[in-house]
């Protein structure tokens, strides 16, 4: 087992002429909940997708548990994407079968009990489920694994406050204690108290990486307040703030 779970070295990603990540250096340890914070377009999704192998970096290197991205790292990463990815004709239980087949750390019993507490009927076809319910199914799939690294891309964007609390509660009560959760968001006030560490991403570069308590102690203000100060020039989307 490697001491560091994630190591990014001079990670750069360009889409044509646009630079999404500009030399990101990032090290993440084990057993923490880390917030990947930045406004829309700062490179959060790009970084997460590189970690799970859906995007290839233009330059730089990534190591997860000491290994380059590949079948091994994929077997220890549990990824919640920013979109729905499964075929509509399946049932939630079909997806549980699939996950149980491919991921040895998937706990079917836990998935079923999470469904029960979330009010999801797993034998329903996904087609007949509302968008919110489908998102819950996806969350169950991701959190019912005993993974080493959970990558959650905007898990609380676009949901009402009650659902938000529920999602955060689910993450807090279900993540593997020796695993690390990296969750991206631009809604910081809602999640600040669940975080160990905060990583600020601005224009594709890491501008701050520290523990939430250290930031509060040093700055005398919340991470949320600091975030607003740093990113004031940015144009935030919607009325979230």
């Amino acid at each position: 087992m490697n001491d560091l779970l994630v190591t990014c070295t001079a990670l750069t990603k360009r889409y044509g002429r646009k630079t999404a990540l500009a030399g990101v250096n990032l090290e993440l340890g084990r057993g923490r909940i880390v917030g990947l914070l930045g406004p829309n377009g700062s490179g959060k999704t790009t970084l997460i997708k590189i970690l799970c192998g859906l995007l290839q970096p233009s330059e730089g290197a990534v190591l997860v548990d000491g290994a380059p991205v590949g079948p091994y790292t994929k077997s220890i990463i549990s990824y919640l994407p920013d979109r729905m990815y499964f075929a509509d004709w399946m049932k939630a239980t079909d997806l549980f079968d699939l996950f149980a087949d491919f991921y040895s750390d998937f706990d079917r019993t836990r998935a079923m009990s999470m469904c029960a507490s979330l009010g999801v009927t797993p034998s329903d076809r996904l087609k007949s489920m509302s968008k919110g319910t489908k998102e819950k199914v996806q969350l169950v799939l991701v959190m019912a694994r005993k993974a080493q690294l959970y990558l959650l891309d905007e898990p609380i964007a676009g949901v009402d406050p009650a659902a938000r609390d529920f999602i955060l509660g689910t993450i807090l009560t279900n993540y593997n204690e020796s695993g690390t959760v990296l969750l991206s968001t631009h809604l910081i006030s809602d999640i600040e108290k669940v975080l160990d560490e905060a990583v600020f991403l601005k224009d594709g570069a890491v501008t701050l990486h520290d523990t939430v308590d250290a930031i509060r102690e040093r700055e005398g203000k919340s991470v949320d307040a600091l975030f607003r100060e740093i990113f004031r020039a940015h144009d935030f989307e919607g009325g979230a703030f």
Binding site: Y15, G53, L54, P71, R83, Y85, A87, F102
Partner: protein, 264 residues
């Protein structure tokens, strides 16, 4: 892991063809009974026979259209679209993903061919004895041509293998074109189409330069062989040729998925 991938791809295949295969066979069975109406004894019978035949032909055509759509969609949507988010985060190697899609595609096509051929047997008003007669006729034919039964059996298997190989080449060409289209950051579907034409042209040129001399060399080699052994040799050379082209397409597709994947 490969077996598990195959299991899920086969499930989606059954989902796709679960209706059309039984439908084609059922329509063939209906035709078997309505076909008698064509003798002109009643106008109603004639109309019924005509409609039944029309529906049957339409279903067969639909089946092959579905097969082509299935091949393209399972790759494009399954690996390069939203479903790719799931497939590419599974702990499997890219070649396994491609191979599973390919094997399922070839299986689906072969099953469709089998259904089409089977349906013809269903339409023709033949009993078991007729079928036996057909086989014994074929047997006598081969004896007449001085071909041993084993050669005939092996030859049939070889032709089926050749069929599968040529389907595989065709599908891998589509896969490579889609993978090449994926390299562009915009208009990926359109670029896939352009890539498809590009691959076609490239393989023709390559064929002319490389394969022509090899072909004529092999041709003269085969010409020296007569009878069954000549047939076997020809088929195997053809299979080998398809295998070489397949390998090139497969390697190209796998490389792009492994090193150049960018799901946005």
């Amino acid at each position: 892991m490969f077996g598990k991938l195959l299991k899920y791809d086969c499930r989606s295949m059954l989902k796709q063809f679960g209706f059309i295969w039984p439908a084609a066979l059922a329509l063939a069975l209906i035709n078997r009974f309505t076909l008698g109406g064509l003798d002109g004894s009643s106008a109603v019978g004639e109309t019924a026979a005509g409609i039944a035949m029309l529906v049957y032909v339409a279903i067969l055509m639909a089946m092959f259209v579905i097969a082509v759509i299935f091949v393209i969609q399972r790759f494009y949507k399954g690996l390069l679209g939203d479903e790719g988010y799931l497939m590419h985060t599974l702990p499997v190697k890219p070649w396994q993903l491609v191979a599973s899609k390919l094997l399922t595609a070839v299986l689906a096509t072969m099953a469709s061919v089998l259904v089409a051929v089977g349906s013809i047997f269903l339409i023709a008003p033949m009993g078991w004895s007729d079928l036996m007669n057909l086989f014994s006729f074929l047997g006598r034919l081969f004896t007449h041509w001085n071909i041993q039964a084993t050669h005939a059996a092996v030859g049939t298997v070889e032709v089926i293998l050749l069929m599968m190989a040529s389907f595989a080449v065709g599908y891998l060409e589509l896969y490579l074109a889609m993978a090449l289209g994926h390299l562009f950051s915009k208009h990926r579907a359109a670029m896939s189409f352009v890539a498809f034409i590009g691959v076609q042209v490239a393989i023709r040129i390559l064929g002319n330069i490389v394969l022509q001399p090899v072909d004529s060399l092999l041709g003269s080699l085969v010409e020296g062989l007569h009878g069954p052994s000549g047939f076997h040799a020809t088929v195997w050379i053809a299979i080998a040729g398809e295998a070489v082209v397949s390998a090139i397409y497969f390697a190209g597709t796998e490389y792009i998925l492994r090193r150049r994947l960018n799901l946005e």
